[in-house]
């Protein structure tokens, strides 16, 4: 249990020590954060409109009707997915929501009004509504045929991806990947790019509750691209300890959805490992660290290594069997 940390440790030694308030504020504002990500060329869903005043609703709605695409309405400052609305199409008089439901146009206006009045962002009455294009997320990332979008959470410490977890939707969570809502958290061994098992509703589980597929030992496609993307986020929003949420678009590949300045610790349970092990190991020697790893470890059963991610192709070519020390 040496490496397992609690909220106290996270708040004091990670968030308070490594994250500058200015950048926390940026991460907490999805609109602002996105501007920074785009400036560094990081793939993220296209913004269709930003509404700061009720009067902007009409022109934004016209834009949505013209675009003829699915879109997502998000409060800029909400946490835990509060107030997020998924829509598949905007028509002149009504909005088609995900799941065959339809709202009259003014209903959407009311939802945006609730966002602007701060209902989803406690203590921050001035909020903005961010409307972005709905991407086409991969429902078969990590496991096959899941009832919703899979998302990947990567913990980045001072520019280095140290831990990752895939969040799988369930029928119980009504297609949401949020662990709080009932999603499954699946730990990922970064060296082997394979899953190691998971948790569901704070309990360890070995199989997906709906599909019955085994959670451990599955390859995670595009993991390297995701980790690179996550590490790149550090250049855009330099938070020493951050969580990057990534969705995988079927055509365009991994995209950053959100940057979190206070990522939670459930990732430890999903990986069955303490975060501290990964943080302490070779904080600076990014490259050396990788070359010291043995790439030949069998998937999912490697010796407990001191964190880090799997070697890139460049390093895989290095002479096999070279043991550290």
């Amino acid at each position: 249990m040496k490496g397992v940390i609690g909220m106290n440790y996270r708040n004091r030694h990670l968030v308070a020590a490594l994250n500058h308030r200015r950048w926390i504020a940026v991460a907490n504002d999805k609109v602002l954060c996105k501007e920074h990500l785009l400036r560094h060329g990081i793939a993220t869903p296209r913004t269709l409109a930003v509404i700061r005043y009720t009067s902007e609703f009409t022109s934004a709605y016209d834009r949505l009707v013209q675009e003829q695409t699915g879109f997502v309405v998000k409060p800029a400052r909400s946490a835990r997915g509060r107030g997020i609305l998924l829509a598949s199409r905007a028509l002149p008089d009504r909005v088609l929501l995900q799941g065959d439901q339809a709202w009259p146009r003014r209903e959407l206006g009311f939802h945006i009004m609730r966002i602007l009045h701060g209902e989803f962002s406690f203590g921050m009455p001035i909020d903005a509504a961010l409307i972005e294009e709905r991407i086409d997320p991969d429902h078969s990332w990590v496991l096959d045929e899941l009832p919703g979008a899979v998302d990947l959470r990567v913990i980045v410490k001072e520019g280095r991806a140290v831990m990752a977890m895939a969040r799988l939707p369930t029928l119980f969570s009504q297609g949401r990947a949020n662990l709080h809502a009932g999603g499954v958290g699946v730990g990922i061994d970064l060296r082997t790019a394979r899953t190691v098992g998971g948790i569901w509703r704070e309990r360890p589980i070995s199989h997906h509750p709906d599909t019955g597929q085994a959670l451990a030992g599955r390859p995670v496609a595009d993991l390297d691209r995701c980790l690179d993307l996550a590490e790149k986020c550090y250049q855009a929003v330099p938070l020493g300890y951050m969580g990057v949420d990534i969705l995988r678009d079927v055509r365009r590949g991994p995209m950053v959805i959100e940057v979190n300045a206070r990522p939670g610790l459930a990732i430890q349970s999903a990986n069955q490992r303490g975060l501290l092990d990964f943080l302490a190991a070779n904080p600076d020697s990014h490259h050396e660290h990788r070359s010291e790893q043995t790439p030949s470890a069998p998937a999912g059963h490697g010796p407990p290594s001191a964190g880090g991610r799997r070697p890139r192709p460049l390093v895989v070519d290095a002479p096999a069997g070279r043991e550290p020390g």
Binding site: M1, K2, G3, V4, I5, G6, M7, N8, Y9, R12, H13, R80, R82, F110, M113, R114, H117, G118, E119, P125, H180, I199, E202, P204, L265, A266, Q268, S269, N271, Q272, R273, G274, P304
Partner: protein, 534 residues
């Protein structure tokens, strides 16, 4: 010392410095300024003040008052009197005398003391006959007086009827007591009633009943006397109480036919004097008014605060000197207790790992429990949260915007508080005067969080967090309700510095919260095995 690494070095040093400063201040107060810890022992008692107002026009004035007696069951301490323009003396019979020559205008006499009394029961011996010889020192308790007409034929006849020859002393006392208690109607009249007229009318005031009882005993040759006293209740009043004492062997046994205490004296009876004399005697032709002010004190917080009013280190002395601004000691105590309650919250959040709604909400709820009392407060808490959440649900259906919706919920919170309070008073649960201070705005936010949690999470989660909030509030209430805590903080407000030190330590501690061992158990457990193999 592995666990020490979870604390911050700087913060620990800072905390040690603050603690040393606190200890130094307390040491200075105790050693140099003479604070004694014995003063801090919590005691139950009553702080009683007798306030007399005298108005004179150039006469010589004298006021005589029967002061509380000292006995084994009744300890009178810190007797103080304040009366400018008067000369004060106290007699060996504990009569206080205030005298002044050629007094003019209005003057006030304040006499105060702290009384600690005990309840006593007096077992009466069985089978003992009424004594025929009465020792000479008790002879005067057999004599008739103007109002206790024990030699009057009607009284003598009644005494014979109640106490026929051959009856035991215990039966005699019991019969007479029963007759006076139930045979006579109680009449709350002022003014003197004598024994004979009480017997003839079949109804009497407190004094009349007791005069009759004393007369009956005396007529039968049993020494008896009146006892005058004060009923100690949290009030201001002008009336005193009377009861009877009858001699059994060489013990005076109290009997109160009005309130039904047979051979016992309850804790809240303060004995002022023996005999049938009035409580006050004053010069004629002066304006005279008086009032007893009685305050029950579970502890000596008032004293703890006031012991060193002149001490510049006693911050509270400045507050008490501001009494004319109606800053009550109670309010000061409440304010002093808020940081202590907040420390309880920070401990429970950061060490135990239970997360209630809101940051300091449980601390404030606990403070308001002190106003309302724990049970009424608990009922209020749940009623308010449930009612307002029900309202909140329907308002969300109406699709109102955030702040106006919360305002409506707040209005309902106030209304349901009144409802509970009225119901409480009607059912005699409690005089819920403190309800006004119940943190309404905070409960409104609780209701909002509750509602939102049910909508976004689940009912179970919402109920769990409301219960956690209540439990944490109860824990805070328990800590700040402890007499020792209140007393020590009242006497040494410097301890708020220690409160800072505690939070410096708590704030630098980065160990696992207790609940996190459960939350992250799969990581904790999985790690335990290979760590040995490494």
């Amino acid at each position: 010392m592995k666990w020490l690494q979870h604390f911050g070095k700087r913060e620990m040093i800072l905390a040690a410095v603050v603690l040393a400063l606190t200890a130094g201040l307390i040491y200075y107060k105790v050693q140099v300024l003479g604070y004694t810890m014995t003063r801090l022992q919590p005691e139950k008692g009553y702080f009683v003040r007798l306030i007399m107002d005298v108005e004179a026009h150039g006469q010589d004035v004298s006021v005589k008052v029967r002061l509380p007696i000292q006995s084994e069951r009744q300890r009178i301490r810190r007797e103080e009197q304040r009366a400018e323009a008067f000369h004060y003396a106290i007699t060996s019979q504990r009569e206080g005398r205030w005298t002044a020559e050629t007094l003019n205008g209005s003057h006030r006499i304040v006499y105060s003391f702290f009384a600690q009394t005990e309840a006593r029961k007096y077992p009466l011996p069985e089978g003992v006959p009424i004594a025929t010889n009465v020792a000479s020192e008790f002879q005067r308790y057999l004599q008739p007086t103007e109002r206790i007409q024990s030699d009057h034929p009607e009284i003598v006849a009644k005494a014979r009827e109640l106490m026929p020859p051959g009856i035991t002393l215990k039966e005699a006392i019991q019969n007479t007591y029963n007759y006076v208690r139930t045979g006579l109607k109680y009449l709350a009249v002022r003014g003197p009633t004598d024994a004979l007229s009480a017997n003839r009318l079949g109804e009497a005031s407190c004094n009349g009943k007791n005069r009759l009882m004393v007369a009956l005993f005396r007529a039968r040759g049993i020494p008896a006397r009146m006892a005058k006293g004060l009923i100690l209740r949290n009030t201001r009043k002008r009336t005193t109480h009377a009861w009877t004492e009858v001699l059994v062997g060489d013990t005076w046994v109290p009997l109160c036919p009005v309130n039904g205490y047979f051979a016992e004296i309850p804790e809240h009876y303060l004995e002022l004097a023996k005999g049938d004399q009035p409580a006050f005697v004053h010069s004629k032709h002066i304006g005279f008014d008086w009032e007893w002010v009685i305050q029950p004190q579970v502890s000596q917080i008032g004293q703890a605060v006031q012991t060193s009013v002149s001490n510049p280190l006693n911050i509270l002395s400045y507050w008490t000197s501001l009494k004319e601004f109606h800053i009550s000691l109670n309010l000061i105590m409440i304010i002093l207790m808020v940081p202590i309650a907040a420390t309880v919250v920070s401990f429970i959040r950061n060490v135990v790992g239970l997360v209630p709604f809101g940051t300091f909400m449980p601390a404030l709820v606990a403070v308001s429990f002190q106003e309302t009392g724990f049970w009424l407060g608990s009922i209020l808490f749940f009623c308010v949260v449930l009612v307002s959440s029900a309202v909140n649900f329907s308002l969300i259906r109406l699709r109102l915007l955030h702040i106006p919706r919360l305002t409506i919920v707040l209005t309902f919170v106030v209304m349901s508080m009144f409802a509970v309070s009225i119901a409480g008073v009607k059912s005699g649960l409690s005089a819920s005067a403190g309800v006004s201070l119940f943190p309404m705005a905070i409960l409104t936010l609780t209701s909002e969080r509750f509602t939102m949690t049910t909508l976004e999470d689940s009912w179970i989660e919402a109920i769990r967090r409301v219960v956690v909030t209540y439990v944490v509030s109860a824990a805070c209430y328990y800590v700040i309700g402890m007499d020792q805590v209140r007393l020590v903080v009242a006497a040494f407000p410097e301890l708020l510095l220690a409160n800072i030190a505690i939070n410096l330590v708590l704030g630098s501690w980065t160990g696992m919260r207790w609940t996190e061992y459960w939350r992250f158990r799969s990581a904790v457990r999985a790690h335990a095995a290979p760590s040995g193999a490494c």
